[in-house]
């Protein structure tokens, strides 16, 4: 049961990154691919009706982690206190910059929110990447299953890590590149004309960053967290996850070159899913590894809730997920196609 819930939480977080990832990516690139007000509005319209629902995956995933592995939720959230608070402020800034930008038409309001949208999206991508880096690298848990990390110490690995060290910063950079390209592919898919052209150009150039960083991060991760390669060696069927990531990585470039925008975007989705599920596979059964003493790691076995709760949760979770997939299909079909210039809304 705990293994099943580990997989479900991992999938929910991965889906969050795939969905809200393109919102963040759109925010990162929009100043460059959209040069006037009409173009900026087009970019916002491509994500406008969808971003809030996408963000809910973060909440739903967090709440699922809360109920399935309360010890991990408690340890992780209090241990990552400062970066989480900063992430919250960035989410506020990102959300309001999308919602409020078009309320006023003047020369100060829109550029202010455009800048906010860019900055918050960029920093969120980096912070989320660094967060993943921290989870993979391991955190200084004590024997009571608690820890606290300052934002940085000496940027090195070892006994006293900070949130930001050289490894997590590189992972943050990889996340930034990945989401920027992911957002560019989405914007290209949903827009036409100059915005479409520029987005595809960003995606083409950015892809090289993604590819390069994929290999660098993978190599570094294998050294920083030996448990990951050990897991792959012990259970080679797990190579299916990195294989998915590689398939996604190459299909992104392939379909982009052929101007098949939808498939290119789906390739990017596959890449992100593959990378995140690989991380989850590599970590299992740890949910939050300890960099201090392996015996103090929080695993699916020592941090799970009761069996009854996990069984009962599966019932409502499944019902809920069926409904969610229904809403998702409905709303995406409703807003399918390229955004046009004149419509009510943003």
């Amino acid at each position: 049961m705990e293994t099943l819930w580990f997989c479900l939480v991992a999938v929910m977080i991965a889906v969050y990154v795939v969905l809200d990832g393109y919102d963040l990516g759109a925010g990162i690139i929009h100043l460059f691919v959209a040069r006037n007000d009409g173009e900026r509005r087009a970019v916002l319209r491509s994500i406008g009706p969808l971003w809030d629902g996408n963000e809910v995956w973060l909440l739903a995933g967090g709440a699922t982690l809360f109920f399935a592995f309360p010890a991990v939720y408690a340890a992780g959230f209090s241990g990552f206190y400062l970066p989480l608070m900063i992430v919250l402020w960035l989410l506020v800034g990102r959300g309001l910059s999308i919602e409020f930008r078009n309320h006023l038409k003047n020369a100060i309001w829109a550029p202010f929110w455009d800048a906010m949208f860019f900055l918050c999206s960029l920093l969120l991508a980096v912070f989320f990447g660094a967060a993943l880096g921290n989870v993979v690298r391991g955190v200084p848990l004590d024997e009571h299953g608690a820890f606290f990390e300052p934002l940085w110490t000496n940027f090195r690995l070892g006994a006293e890590t900070g949130i930001f060290d050289w490894y997590t910063i590189i992972v943050g950079l990889a996340a930034f590149c990945t989401l920027a390209v992911h957002g560019a592919l989405w914007v290209a898919l949903k827009t036409e004309g100059a915005v479409n052209e520029r987005s595809r150009a960003v995606a083409k150039v950015g892809w090289w960053g993604v590819a390069g960083l994929t290999f660098i991060v993978t190599g570094l991760t294998f050294r920083v967290q030996p448990q990951v390669p050990a897991r792959l060696a012990a259970q080679p069927w797990g190579y299916v996850f990195p294989a998915l990531a590689l398939a996604g990585l190459f299909s992104m470039a392939w379909f982009l070159a052929r101007r098949e925008e939808c498939r290119a975007f789906l390739g990017s989705c596959a890449y992100i899913l593959g990378m995140l599920t690989s991380a989850a596979f590599g970590l299992y059964p740890c949910v939050l590894p300890a960099s201090t003493n392996p015996a103090w790691s929080l695993t699916v076995h020592n941090s799970k809730t009761g069996d009854y709760a996990m069984r009962v949760g599966l019932v409502w979770w499944t019902i809920g997920m069926v409904l969610v997939i229904g809403y998702f299909v409905f709303v995406n079909r409703h807003f399918a196609g390229k955004v046009r210039t004149e419509e009510n809304g943003y």
Partner: protein, 458 residues
């Protein structure tokens, strides 16, 4: 660690209070939007559709702020209250998870369709979207109230071999008797806010001689729904909520009522200042034996005072509980009076011309916010010193790893950010109200746009 405890408490109290300013309006307006949209569908009049679009814009602004200020709360269980989360997560994680899965996805998805899909959905489809946004937001309210109710009255749990709290009965959790009365009381409280805001805007338009047709519609709808709401808020929901407190948290009731001494035929204090050191109420204005009657339906029933309980089980701030409770009830009583007068005048066809009552409706706008906030503070401060009533004390629930310094940093950060957000909210909503539901040929000019161009577009 007392310093850290205080900061963590302030942190949650501040962010939760600010957050709730927005959902109470959103949930109340969601109901009223369904009413207006139904009227639009049945009469086919564009007037009602314009009204829906107007309030939809204000709804959207409030919703956005509710979302961005709400996410910090879900995170805050873990960041600032880690030991509580670890203990209670197996239970309240269920209700919070269900809130995410069932309510947030529903309301977020259909909000997009409500705001941007009117043309594509058609009138019936758009009505459905409106209803689903209402359902989503009210379902969300249910699961949050279920979470909070479990903290007040823990049910459906057991202690496992390691003395950890685990869920033992899903239905007991979801059908907690506390929830069954707290939920309608909270939601009707939100409806009261929605109604007073709509009535206030309608009254403003009537008094300033603008958007008259809309002014009348808003006042009419808001007073009709509002009168029902303020009455239901007292009976049965408020009364039953009070009796739950009396039954399950008698020490909290004593603090709310300022009852220091256990007695039969206990009096109801209307006014008075509690002096905790001297264990008495100063300058009391009381109704003899009324508290016994209200609580137990018998004039001579014994009501326990604070003296029946050890001081370490008293709420940590008795005057706060007492005053917030009295503010809530006092305002609730005034709301009933105002809505009753407005309702009677409406029935006689005299409300739109009655300037004194319109002035009262217009000026009443901030007060439901104060009443709702006071009610929540009564509940939360009343539950102290427990974070899970009878199971875990608040001081044992904080994150041990997060120092006071870190908590102060983020608290000040939130205070600054939320001050800016509050100003932004008022600015944007004011603009929408200034602009009104319909373009006015000779109305006040909007900053930065031309009236002629817009009337052509309308």
């Amino acid at each position: 660690m007392d310093d850290a405890l205080t900061v963590h408490r302030l942190h949650f109290a501040f962010t939760a209070t600010f957050h709730y300013l927005f959902p109470q309006l959103t949930m109340g307006l969601a109901l009223l939007l369904v009413v207006l949209k139904t009227m639009a569908l049945r009469t086919g009049e564009e007037h009602y559709n314009r009204a829906v679009r107007f309030w939809g814009k204000i709804f959207g602004i409030s919703f956005a702020l509710g979302v961005v200020t709400g996410i910090p709360l879900e995170f805050q269980f873990g960041t600032n209250w880690a030991r509580f989360s670890r203990a209670a997560g197996g239970v309240i994680g269920q209700t919070l998870g269900m809130e995410g899965m069932f309510a947030f996805f529903l309301e977020s998805t259909f909000l997009g369709l409500f705001l941007f899909g009117e043309k594509r959905l058609g009138p019936v489809g758009h009505w459905v979207a409106t209803v689903l946004v209402f359902v989503g937001s009210w379902v969300s309210g249910f699961f949050i109230v279920a979470t909070f109710s479990w903290m007040q009255h823990p049910v459906g749990y057991a202690l496992d071999a390691n003395n950890q709290i685990v869920l033992s009965s899903f239905w007991a959790l979801v059908l907690n008797p506390w929830t069954l009365w707290a939920y309608p009381h909270v939601m009707i409280g939100a409806a009261v806010t929605g109604c007073f805001v709509m009535a206030s805007v309608g009254a403003f338009y009537l008094l300033s001689g603008r958007q008259l047709a809309y002014g009348r519609t808003f006042v009419r709808v808001a007073v009709m729904v509002g009168l029902a709401a303020v009455l239901l808020q007292l009976l049965p929901t408020g009364d039953m909520q009070g009796r739950l407190v009396a039954h399950h948290q008698p020490v909290t009731l004593a603090a709310m009522e300022g009852l220091f001494d256990t007695q039969q035929g206990a009096p109801l204090a209307i006014l008075g200042q509690p002096d905790v050191e001297k264990r008495r109420l100063d300058n009391p204005l009381v109704i003899p034996r009324m508290l016994s009657f209200l609580t137990y339906r018998r004039w001579s029933a014994e009501v326990k005072g604070l003296d029946s309980f050890p001081p370490q089980d008293w709420p940590s701030n008795i005057p706060l509980v007492y005053y917030c409770y009295h503010v809530m009830v006092g305002l609730g009583t005034m709301f009933i009076a105002l809505m009753a007068v407005a309702g009677w005048l409406l029935w006689r066809g005299k409300l739109y011309g009655s300037r004194p009552v319109l002035w009262l409706l217009m000026l009443a706008l901030p007060f439901p916010y104060i009443a709702n906030t006071a009610g929540w503070i009564t509940a939360e401060a009343g539950r102290q010193p427990w974070i899970i009533y009878g199971l875990m004390r608040t001081r044992d629930g904080v994150s041990a790893q997060v120092s006071a310094g870190n908590a102060w940093f983020t608290l000040i950060g939130f205070m600054g950010l939320y001050t800016v957000l509050g100003i932004l909210f008022l600015f944007l909503v004011r603009r929408e109200i200034e602009h009104g539901p319909e373009e006015e040929v000779q109305g006040p000019r909007r900053g930065g746009s031309k009236v002629q161009g817009l009337t052509a577009e309308a």
